[in-house]
Amino acid sequence: MPAFSSEERQLLHDSATEYFADRYGPERALALTRDDGPDGFGRAEWKSYAELGWLGLMLPEDAGGSEGGLTEAAILFAAAGAELAAEPLIPCLVLGAGAVTGLGTEAQQAALEGVAEGEKILGFLHYEPGSGFARDHVETIARPTADGYALTGDKAFSAGAHAADLLVVSARIGGPDGPVGLFLVPGDAGGLHRVPAPALDGRRGAAATLDGVAVSADALLGGTTDDRLAAIDRLLDRAALAVCADMLGAMTKASEITTDYLKTREQFGQKLSSFQVLQHRLVDMRICCEESRAAIHAALTAQDENAPDAAIAAWRAKAETARAARFVGGQGVQLHGGMGMTDDLGIGHYYKRLSVNEALFGDAAWHIDRLAAREDARAAQPAAPEMAGA
């Protein structure tokens, strides 16, 4: 049962789309990401998101949230992606806050305080230099100490981590064979060294080194020593799906921009939009958007209904959307010709946004490998019952 009605979703979409169309876009994104300050995104924007209730969309009521599903959040992310918003919405809301909401004890839910109000940004550090896209490879160790844990290890570049006030960090408890736990680590913790950098599209993040970062015992989310790999996997599936929404917004916009450009630009005495080859290319871009939209919708519904195939639907959505994004982004630049190569025009920034999103939390090929690995399991079963059920 979704927390939001279709009408409420429509309203959310309308207000988010209007906000970003009016107050964001490639130029604003460029100004923010190239700013010399440490953030690379808009603190004022973040405050507005809080005021508009967006930062609390998925949070529990107790944390000042409206308990929406991933679908509601996705409506926001899509609108943000369409105008290249640079704020770390997904790492903060889906991963950081998602981890606390889902795994935190009642006491630990206090970590969510200030998130809805835009006063606290959460981050997520899980991937490591040796993990690639694999989600079960954790070398960081949380060594038990007298009054808690000391965390030591390296974490790979993670979007938004540079600006997080509080980070959710994965580590193996006790030693290299220990269960993986998630720890709450303040951004200013001693021994935490962050190396900030821009991603290909300018959005910033950081890699990190933890050198005996001391946290108290109640920093371990859930307060037990259960292995959290499955929970992390689910969180990352949700984050991947959230990224799909961002991509959908960005690629829809990239298609529109390109269509509009070809309608105005003339060559050989004709509008470029009159060339059939270019028309069909635009059509294929549009179809890619429609396909992604459908796959994402199905996956979001599965996620919010907690359907048994929710994970598979998310993998499929990420694979389809990442492929679509590669085509749409690449053709967007191509059809703009030389102009598409310039830093001045918007289309190149959509290309870069889509390139980064493609890779975030696993690219198309990696997700298809996951789906194929599932085939392995099925291949062991006899084929006949499949036939009957098909």
């Binding site: 979704p2 279709s6 979703r9 429509q10 979409h13 679908t71 996705a74 409506i75 899509a78 609108a79 369409a82 929404a245 959908l248 917004g249 829809t252 269509t259 070809l262 309608k263 939009s273 009159s274 059939q276 028309q279 069909h280 635009l282 059509v283 294929d284 549009r286 179809i287 429609e290 396909e291 939209r293 459908a294 796959a295 994402i296 919708h297 199905a298 979001l300 519904t301 919010d304 639907a313 499929r316 694979a319 389809e320 298809i368 490998d369 789906l371 194929a372 599932r374 085939e375 392995d376 099925r378 291949a379 006899p382 084929a383 006949a384 499949e386 036939m387 098909a390």
Partner: protein, 400 residues
């Protein structure tokens, strides 16, 4: 909206789904089952028997409004019915009566035409075929040349139709004919006629396709006298009725329900085909292809469901479904063919005759799969080719 609002699900529909599934299991006897599983040519009497069984349930025209003798199914119910019958590899629901000429007749026909033709369509007492395409027309349907000249109470028809599916089984044909060759636009001056296939002057000639099967025909009209009462609607307005009908055809063409069955067949084939002594189902490359095909199907189904939820699917949805559906159909069949490449691609077309008992080379499903592969090369051509679909989106939706 970037993200669709989720449509609520109706739990009653699952009951209906089970009912259709059970019906298929019960009504398709073992003999017919085997013919269907092997992809053999289904004899007309068996095909007819199945359609009549559906007709008795009212399901053949379940999607018609109750006032026309249908069951007034919602789009979701219609989709479930298609999905289940396709998924059971039930015999083809030839659309010519139930989704093509039937709706045209109940929408534009006279009371007499309705009384005369609709019952036969609902019960499948009458087989229909479609006389649209002509040798020179290709994708440019409106360029048709078959002439109908009014002569007293009759039209006299001369010309030729082509690609006429099942004309060799059909009792009636609905035709687009040119009644005013001098109309300023080629879309004007076309009329919509119902013609009894037994009328003197009609010749049906088989048109053998790549699979060596006889599905299509050429139909020749030589001074064929058609009573004027068989004109649908107004003279010279036939193009309007044809457009109404084409919109119907475009959504139906995806045959998505079939694809799940193909994939099950592919899975079976992979399990039964060995390479280096090991089943191909263990091959990483085929596993990945299977996963991708399943992904594509799942996306196609999601697009289809979203299109249904919109009520009338938009131009883009309909065209995108046609384009991607036909591409996926060919991709699955190609993958099966790639498996059969391991057996040398022997093609015993004779094995498609029910009851054939010659000596088999390769898996027993080979001939059926390869025939389907060849036959469905047309999936990206018929019902508006992929190129035409893209033109439609370009002009109709992107304003290019």
């Amino acid at each position: 909206m970037f993200i669709n609002a989720a449509a609520p699900r109706d739990p009653n529909l699952e009951k209906f789904r089970m009912e259709v599934r059970e019906f298929c299991q019960t009504e398709i006897g073992p003999e017919m089952r085997r013919i269907l599983d092997l992809g053999q040519h289904l004899p007309k009497d068996m095909h007819d028997g199945w359609l009549k069984a559906l007709g008795r349930k009212g399901w053949l025209t379940g999607h018609w409004a109750k006032e026309h003798g249908g069951l007034g199914w919602t789009p979701e119910e219609s989709a479930i019915f298609r999905d289940e019958t396709d998924g059971a590899a039930a015999p083809w629901l030839a659309p010519f009566g139930v989704t093509m000429v039937g709706p045209v007749i109940y929408t534009f026909g006279t009371p007499e035409q309705k009384a005369r033709h609709l019952p036969g369509i609902r019960k499948n007492d009458v087989w229909w075929c479609q006389g649209y395409s002509e040798p020179g027309s290709g994708s440019d349907l409106a360029s048709l040349k078959t002439r109908a000249v009014r002569d007293g109470d009759d039209y006299v028809v001369n010309g030729q139709k082509i690609w006429t599916t099942l004309a060799h089984w059909a009792d009636w044909i609905f035709c687009l004919v040119r009644t005013d060759p001098d109309a300023p636009k080629k879309q004007q001056g076309i009329s919509f006629l119902l013609i009894d296939m037994k009328t003197p002057g009609i010749t049906v000639r088989p048109l053998i396709t790549l699979d060596l099967g006889h599905h299509l025909n050429e139909v020749f009209f030589e001074d064929v006298r058609v009573p004027a009462e068989n004109l649908i609607g107004e003279e010279n307005k036939g193009w309007d009725y044809a457009k109404f009908l084409l919109a119907h055809e475009r959504v139906g063409v995806a045959e998505i329900g079939k694809f799940g069955r193909y994939l099950a067949q592919l899975r079976k084939l992979l399990g039964e085909t060995r390479e280096g002594g090991r089943p191909l189902s263990e091959d990483p490359g085929f596993r990945r292809r299977l996963a991708e095909l399943e992904m594509n199907l799942s996306t196609l189904k999601a697009m289809h469901a979203d299109a249904l939820a919109q009520g009338t699917p938009g131009l883009i949805s309909a065209a995108a479904l046609k384009i991607r559906g036909s591409e996926l159909q060919q991709a699955i069949l190609q993958t099966m063919t790639d498996v059969l490449g391991r057996h040398g691609l022997a093609y015993q077309a004779d094995a498609l005759m029910a009851g054939w008992n010659g000596e088999l080379v390769g898996p027993e499903e080979s001939a059926g799969i390869l025939a389907e592969h060849l036959h469905r090369r047309a999936a990206t051509i018929y019902g508006g080719s992929s190129e035409i679909q893209r033109n439609i989106i370009a002009k109709g939706a992107l304003g290019l």
